[in-house]
Amino acid sequence: MFSNLANLFRYRGLIQSLVARELKARYRGSALGFLWSFINPLLFLLIYTFVFAVVLPALHTRELEPFALFMFCGILPWTWFSSALSEATNSLLSGGNLIKKVLFPAEILPLVSVLANMIHFFLGLPILIGFLVYYQRWPDAWDLLWFPVTVLVQLVFTAALALVLSALTVHFRDIRDILANVLTLWFFSTPILYWIKEAPGFSKAVLDLNPMTHVVVSYQEILFFRGPIGHWKWLLATGAMSVLLFLAGFWLFDRLRDSFAESV
């Protein structure tokens, strides 16, 4: 297993070009091209802003103003998370040709989905920066050092789930349909549209069990709230858990590897 894990590093050139291909191919043939990487999260944000800032402004406290910025700090990483998982789940099936006909390290496919969506996330960041400038909210410089850590934790966690889901989907195609619903539930179980501090006692405990809570709250503390980041312990714990999950996911993937070429 560890030699296979080490191989991942050897394949970085391949991963890199596949991610590039993924990004190029996605918007090839559409008039706005890769601008959609900006427009999609913006439209998403616009909808939520309309609902929660215009129609239902009373639902959030004044501390969360400007609410659009608050939501965006959560929506942007969430988009990465959810689209990475939906694409990764399908990746082995849609890349079946490669697995069956070419000597190809299968784990690359779900990882490429995760990484390609990470690039989309990065492409969305300028919009976030634009918002920060517009609202004149300058994040604390020391806090910003935590930003790459948060990204890394999210990357490892997403990759772990991507490996597990993609491997199991080969044998249980139902996962694709289940996942869409689970992701909706997960979205609302993550403090993106509300503030975790406002959650009543019991539900707070439930939310704390959700790894994405700590990722999203970290983003919010770094980018939205002033003052030193208070969530770093949770974040590091989530990171440690993600690494374990990644190893477990890779182990499962490795065990099922030989069945892919026959079952895809």
């Binding site: 070009s17 291909r21 040709n97 006909k101 190809f104 044998h171 249980f172 070429a261 026959e262």
Partner: protein, 463 residues
Amino acid sequence: MTSAIELVNVSKIYRRYGGRHFSTLKSALLQRSILRDLRPSETFPALTGVTFTVPKGSTYGVIGRNGSGKSTALKLVAGITKPTTGQVHVDGRISALIELGAGFHPEISGRENVFINGIMLGLTKREIQERFDEIVDFAELREFIDAPVKTYSSGMYMRLGFAVAIHVNPDVLLVDEVLAVGDEGFTHKCLDKFAEFRRRGKTILLVTHSLNLVERFCDEALWLDEGHAMTHGDPKRVVGAYLTKVSEGEEVLLATTSAKAVEEATKASAEEESSQGGKPVEHPVDPTSNMFEATEGRWGSREIEIFDVTFLDSAGEPSHVFHSGDRMSIRLKVRTSKATDDFVFGIGLFNADGVCCYGTNTLLEEMSPQHLDGEAEATFAIDGLDLVEGTYKVDVAVHKQDGYQYDYHRLLYTFRVKSRIRDVGIYRPRHRWAFSPGVQFKSPSTSSGQAPSMSPGPSSDDR
């Protein structure tokens, strides 16, 4: 000599996952049996105890019928699947021409696909950069290289895939029936490339249905049948053994279809007769008159009955598969309950298009019947079956001189003529070519008397 590929007692068993609770997470979760469900409930052996060695620098052909495990063997060598038992050892960089352009993405340009495909096959970016022009020229796609691959025709797609794969510069090249991808010109280019590989001492493992190619190109060959290695060694011998087996298979098939046809026709005519009150039904006398709407059947009064029709080869053994130019006899066994002096034996040969190749009877050949009683045999002997390759059907009949049918068997018997010369038409006259001294051909060993075009070989006796 060191070996480039070595398979030792390799078996591959494919799993068929349980049909009923196939791929449902629900049942797996309910029964807490995810891992148990992943175990096979039924297995299918694709390869059984196959051992072979391909020496470095040689070209090795694998032949066999569809589903004989050829492609599985290739995938095992390529490392795409793992053997269930046994060892596969390969020495050197492999490039597998199994599915050309498998990694192409339709939305992006040929240029970008060449790079990504090359990286997938193990090249570095720089190596591809160096070979890029060569690849594009080989694929003959210079004008289209910046168009998205989805706009390519299937031939262009395959050519590009082939060009990339062959420029990986492998030590071991695996080829799975890919020479059918291009037009004549491109196929020649591929063969030239293979020849170049051989000259440079690379190892080629070739899976193909083209026996011709195996005989011409390979140093050794392996014949797989239902996952078993039947024989390996000299390509000519292996191909010969394989062809014999194929003829045997055809023989069995033709024998059973003939038997079935006779049985059905007999039953049908019996029913017809009983429904018509035992009166013989009127049927056309001349089999050639309606040859384009010929259907199988049997009719006649059965006062004289043909109860057995057998094709005999030159040794007098029953057979259904003959080589063009062979001796062949059609033996009719007849019986009658009362002696008669009015009978004519007739024979008609038809090709698969229903064209009458030859028809005759004893009356046309001015034989006057005198006496027939009890059981008897009539044999129609052909000294040389000078027909081109194909499947032929036979009419046999016994009737009165005025056309009254005793027993007519319409297209009930089938035999096959095989030939290594791909000539066309129906009839192959005995022939030879003669040339003035100004005309010269290469010696037959290079062409093996198997000209791919439609012209006959150097001499009609060459088969």
